[in-house]
């Protein structure tokens, strides 16, 4: 494990488990710079890596989501095939 932590290596992305999300909307209140709500109350992500100033709040948003649908991930989205 490398001890050098570059900015890129520390970057985290926000993802939503859409099968779990029930549109409580807490995430949009905690992370307004990255998340807004659509007309049905579901989160709209800006698709950007989490800003450094927002990392703590992003962790809280993930931990406080009532159904744990908000995910912080350092990985790119996986491919899906065979739809």
């Amino acid at each position: 494990m490398s001890r050098i932590r570059t900015k890129e290596a520390a970057e985290q992305a926000i993802a939503v488990d859409w099968t779990a999300c029930q549109g409580h909307g807490l995430c949009a209140e905690l992370l307004p710079e990255h998340i807004t709500l659509d007309e049905w109350g579901y989160p709209l992500l800006d698709g950007q890596p989490v800003r450094r100033a927002a990392v703590k709040r992003a962790r809280r948003a993930a931990a406080d989501c009532p159904v744990l649908a908000l995910k912080l991930t350092s990985k790119p989205a996986p491919y899906t095939a065979d739809s």
Binding site: W18, T19, E39, W40, Y42, T73, Y79, D82
Partner: protein, 426 residues
């Protein structure tokens, strides 16, 4: 690149009857298990891509599974996916009926290549296939052909049953519903084991590549898309027909464009595919290179020609209603968006139904906005595919939409072209 004008290849669907093991063995011999160790490389050389719709390179998926096996130390599961789900697609069911042993060979060879401990073949219930395939499996067991026993699994006949995560859920004893794509099925699928899900047609091609090699495989098709594919062709007034076509075959030949009844548009790639005006389609080939500029892809090979005297908006509205009902209902944007899109599209499809020009502008604005809201916001690609169909229809049938806005429809024949299962419910 030479355009393939040669006769259609007949690699997958020979003339002998279903479940005829001696005939199959006489034609192809036993599965070449000795080639399993180098099979992934051979598949890479052949350039075989998946035939379930996404055209993902087979060797990459198998490599990913093999890596997950090394990481987790668990033996993988291999699943043959015969749950085609799409009402307009018949090719997997036809293949399983006419050449089950080619698919079962492919299943065994893929299992040997990734060191699987378990093999399953998923087919739709109510098709008569599970019993026929069980017979085929039993005969192979008696003949000592298979390395691993094959479990035939029945899945519900629904649009999303064949989605790989939904399939893995079902085979793990849960409801056949798509799940969040992380971790992916290739890492944690059936019974939490790394799982290789391959479409049954893909497995049949794999069984041939293992025997006859990459060069043979590439002897038809184009350089970028080698080989052939099974297509389900829908022409008005005829039963749907399953044909094998080389990649690069002109669409006009498959859909008989310019012959008989003139077509106004063709549907390529099924209900998650795209409408292309016939004026363009007549010079396109069955290849991603030709179809991508139109937002389409060969996909799982569903092709339909809409005659000039039918209404493309009405046809699309029927399909959208079905697709909205087939939403698994798990993801908020899909659950909310698809029925609204379908209802708004139905307004456009009814001549004068949306009211005056102002109301039509509102309806079109709603469809565009909701399409943007559902796209990319689901566990599976159901919303994405549905939006693809919507957008292509609004472009291909823009002239018809203007007529509907003026209160009339140009169609004189209102017979539905595309099949929708009766009483479709999720």
């Amino acid at each position: 690149m030479p355009v393939t004008e040669a006769p259609a290849p007949a690699r997958l669907l020979p003339l002998y009857g279903a479940d005829n093991l001696p005939a199959h063995a006489a034609l192809h011999g036993p599965p070449p298990y000795a080639a399993a160790g180098t099979l992934i490389q051979t598949l890479a050389d052949a350039g075989l891509a998946g035939h379930g719709g996404a055209a993902f390179p087979v060797h990459r998926k198998m490599t990913a599974v093999a890596e997950a096996v090394r990481r987790t130390g668990r033996k993988p599961v291999v699943v043959g996916n015969g749950a085609e789900g799409e009402p307009a697609s018949e090719k997997d069911k036809t293949l399983l009926r006419r050449a089950p042993h080619l698919v079962l060979d492919g299943l065994q060879l893929a299992a040997a290549a990734v060191g699987a401990g378990e093999v399953q073949l998923a087919v739709e219930e109510g098709t008569g296939l599970p019993a026929a395939l069980q017979n085929a499996v039993n005969r192979r067991a008696r003949a000592g052909i298979d390395l691993l026993p094959v479990r035939i699994a029945e899945v519900p006949r629904r649009f999303l049953s064949g989605e790989s995560s939904a399939l893995a859920e079902r085979l793990s004893g849960r409801a056949a519903l798509p799940r969040h794509p992380e971790p992916p099925v290739r890492e944690r699928g059936v019974g939490r084991a790394p799982t290789l899900v391959q479409n049954v047609e893909t497995l049949a091609h794999l069984a041939l590549v293992a025997r006859y090699g990459a060069q043979w495989f590439r002897s038809v098709g184009t350089g970028e898309e080698p080989g052939s594919m099974l297509c389900t062709v829908h022409l008005a007034g005829r039963e749907p027909e399953v044909v094998e076509a080389a990649y690069g075959t002109p669409l006009r030949r498959l859909l008989l464009l310019g012959q008989g009844d003139p077509a106004q548009a063709v549907l390529v790639g099924g209900y998650h595919g795209a409408w292309i005006p016939a004026a363009h389609a007549v010079r396109l080939r069955l290849s991603a290179a030709d179809l991508t500029p139109f937002g389409a892809a060969p996909g799982a090979g569903v092709l339909a020609a809409l005659p000039a005297d039918r209404c493309g908006l009405a046809e699309t509205a029927r399909v959208l209603r079905y697709l909205a009902l087939q939403s698994a209902g798990q993801c908020g944007p899909c659950l909310n968006g698809l029925p609204r899109i379908a209802a708004a599209f139905a307004e456009l499809a009814a001549p004068g139904g949306a009211g005056g020009p102002e109301r039509i502008a509102v309806v079109r604005g709603d469809i565009a906005r909701w399409s943007g809201l559902v796209e990319g916001r689901g566990a599976c690609h159901h919303p994405d595919g549905t939006v693809r169909l919507v957008r292509s229809a609004l472009t291909a049938f823009a002239g018809e939409a203007d007529c509907h806005a003026a209160g009339y429809c140009r169609a004189t024949d209102h017979t539905p072209l595309l099949p929708i299962p009766e009483g479709s419910r999720r």
